[in-house]
């Protein structure tokens, strides 16, 4: 009687309930929801509209006015020419950096966490729970406390200021939530499955690769969604553990928009902001209900 039934109730036909669409209750309810929805959509609308105007039009009009003359120049400029410091090759640099950070981080963190969750669910050894508890409690420690020690560790490894170092950091901080996610999923699978495979002589890796992996596609998708949006949107780790040439998109975006030099080009700024938001928005709108499931997984502790 929770998520599953709720879903069927939302999807399935809902006859049997005679209703008057225009009752006072409905007008208030839908009216409120509509107004709130407009409020939530307004910033997105303003971003799009502003990014399609020329600067003279922005100066004369106001932010909510739709563009009279649509121009894609701001988008081109944001992508390929906007300046941060001495680099004037636009956000494309940050975009590709973010891709080079996000892809390996997502793969590595999920690989580590899934094997880890599997070990915790099916191959408990003495002390495993202790480390797991530390891991979960650690998820609540403010990152600021661990920032500098990690700088030292990365410097000792010769990885400070490199993308590899940042990938490592993302894998570390993705571990608590992902391990929890995978542990709970594997624990919920029927134990007979695992036992049968054991009887047939399969070992730790054999069971993981041949039985657990094929059965856990949904949870992997949820994990990918959590990680792509989380890592793409990260700012703090990017700014601490990389150097200007390697800054991820969020850091570069902030540097472009909040730079004090030059005339403010609001249309370019909004185009850049939209470009940066595009990847997580795409993930969000494509994944739909799975995104919500990811949130629920992150929120509900096991």
């Amino acid at each position: 009687m929770n998520v599953a039934t709720a879903d069927t109730a939302a999807d399935g036909p809902r006859g049997r309930k005679p209703r008057r669409m225009l009752s006072r209750r409905n007008i208030i309810l839908y009216g409120t929801l509509f107004v709130v929805a407009v409020y939530y959509l307004l910033p997105l609308y303003v971003m799009v509209v502003t990014s399609l105007k020329g600067m003279p039009e922005i100066r004369l009009g106001h932010i909510f006015a739709p563009p009279v003359e649509i121009t894609f120049q701001p988008w081109v400029k944001a992508w390929a020419q906007a300046c941060t410091g001495l680099n004037c090759d636009g956000l494309s640099r940050g975009f590709w950096n973010s891709v080079r950070i996000t892809v390996p981080s997502v793969l590595l963190s999920i690989a580590i966490a899934s094997v880890n969750g599997y070990a915790l669910a099916n191959w408990r050894f003495k002390g495993a729970e202790v480390f797991f508890t530390i891991l979960i409690v650690g998820a609540f420690i403010p990152y600021q406390v661990m920032l500098y020690p990690i700088v030292i560790i990365l410097r000792e490894m010769g990885l400070y200021g490199t993308l590899t170092g940042l990938v490592l950091v993302h894998s570390i901080f993705g571990m608590p939530i992902l391990t929890l996610l995978f542990r709970n999923y594997f624990t919920a699978l029927p134990e007979e499955l695992f036992k049968a495979a054991r009887v047939d002589g399969a070992g730790f890796w054999g069971i993981y690769l041949r039985i657990m992996l094929p059965m856990s596609l949904p949870v992997f998708v949820v994990a990918v969604i959590i990680q792509i949006t989380g890592i793409w949107n990260d700012f703090l780790f990017g700014v601490v553990y990389t150097k200007p040439d390697l800054y991820p998109m969020t850091v570069q975006l902030n540097n472009i928009v909040n730079s004090v030099q030059g005339v403010k080009e609001y249309n370019v700024n909004m185009a850049a902001t939209l470009l940066t938001g595009l990847v997580p928005l795409l993930v969000y709108f494509v994944s739909g209900k799975l995104f919500v499931r990811g949130i629920a997984a992150g929120a509900v502790k096991g």
Binding site: R124, F125, F235, T250, N254, N258
Partner: protein, 298 residues
């Protein structure tokens, strides 16, 4: 689960699982425990550009609590924290309750309310910086409508700037709270609603006296999530105001970063981050105590 017939060295028993857990063990011990202990220890030193093991007792903390910028940061954190807690609870719950009234287009509304949560705080901060821009944004639009003396310029007003940040934070975060609350509401048995209707209890009373008390565990989880997010607030401020005007919108996390990586005053950064840790501990420990205490009794 494992065979007990032969008795090899217990260290090698279940070896593959142990190998698979090495990253977790290293993260837990080296980064989480070790890193935290290291920072706390070095907050008692006078490290400047590089960490130096020269014990100076509580000097850094005395300095910290007599630095105006830190005091402003703490004050902001309290205002921002209290208000975002209250508002995200109220708004999140109201939205969830409305979506739970068996409405049409529920998925559409939920998608709209939740999309800001997918965005980076940097994106959110920059959009709201633009929306609240006094020369082009909301203030300008209302003045164009004929209300010439209208002033709504939070980002350039020392007294109001933290509320400007709050507006942006609520826009981004309430969708998440709504989702958590909605999941909670959906877990309530339909029969309770039927019984309340049969007894003729009005809907708002059912919510207030029956449903909300039943949602206590959901509220507690939500509280912990919001509270630990509040302490971490950083990117949003950097993007939206940069801590300005002056130091009016500084927050502790920004203080830590600036002193560690820009101000070359590591000791201050360590002390400030230790204070952040302390504030989280104050929130988490009672909750963990309740959680694990309950579990222990079972």
């Amino acid at each position: 689960m494992r065979s007990q017939s032969e008795r090899p060295n217990p260290l090698f028993r279940n070896l593959n699982a142990k190998i698979a857990s090495i990253p977790m063990v290293l993260t837990a011990l080296v980064v989480f425990v070790g890193g935290t202990a290291w920072t706390v220890l070095y907050s008692f030193t006078n490290s400047k550009l590089l960490p130096r093991w020269k014990f100076v007792g509580l000097d850094q903390y005395e300095r910290l609590w007599s630095t105006p910028r830190w005091l402003v940061s703490i004050e902001n954190l309290f205002i921002y924290g209290a208000l975002s807690l209250i508002f995200s609870f109220v708004i999140g719950f109201l939205l969830a309750a409305m979506l739970d009234r068996k409405i049409r287009f529920e998925d559409t509304f939920r998608t709209i309310f939740l999309y800001p949560f997918a965005l980076s705080f940097i994106v959110t901060g920059l959009v709201w910086q633009w929306l609240l821009n006094p020369d082009f944004g909301v203030q300008h639009v209302v003045r164009l409508l004929g209300w010439e003396s209208f002033t709504f310029n939070p980002l350039y007003d020392r007294q109001l700037v933290i509320y400007g940040i709050l507006i942006a934070a609520l826009w981004q975060g309430t969708g998440l709270i709504m989702c958590l609350m909605l999941a909670g509401l959906r877990s309530i048995d339909e029969d309770i609603w039927k019984a309340a209707r049969v007894d003729g209890i009005p809907v708002w009373k059912t919510y207030l006296f029956i449903v909300i008390p039943m949602l206590r565990p959901v509220f507690v989880t939500t509280l912990v999530i919001i509270a630990s997010a509040i302490v971490k607030v950083y990117d949003l401020v950097v993007a939206q105001t940069g801590g300005g005007p002056g130091h009016a919108s500084e927050v502790p996390a920004k203080y830590v970063y600036d002193y560690m990586f820009l101000g070359q005053n590591l000791g201050q950064g360590f002390a400030a981050s230790t204070m952040m840790l302390l504030s989280v501990v104050i929130v988490i420990v009672p909750w963990a105590y309740l959680e694990f205490g309950r579990r222990g009794r079972r």
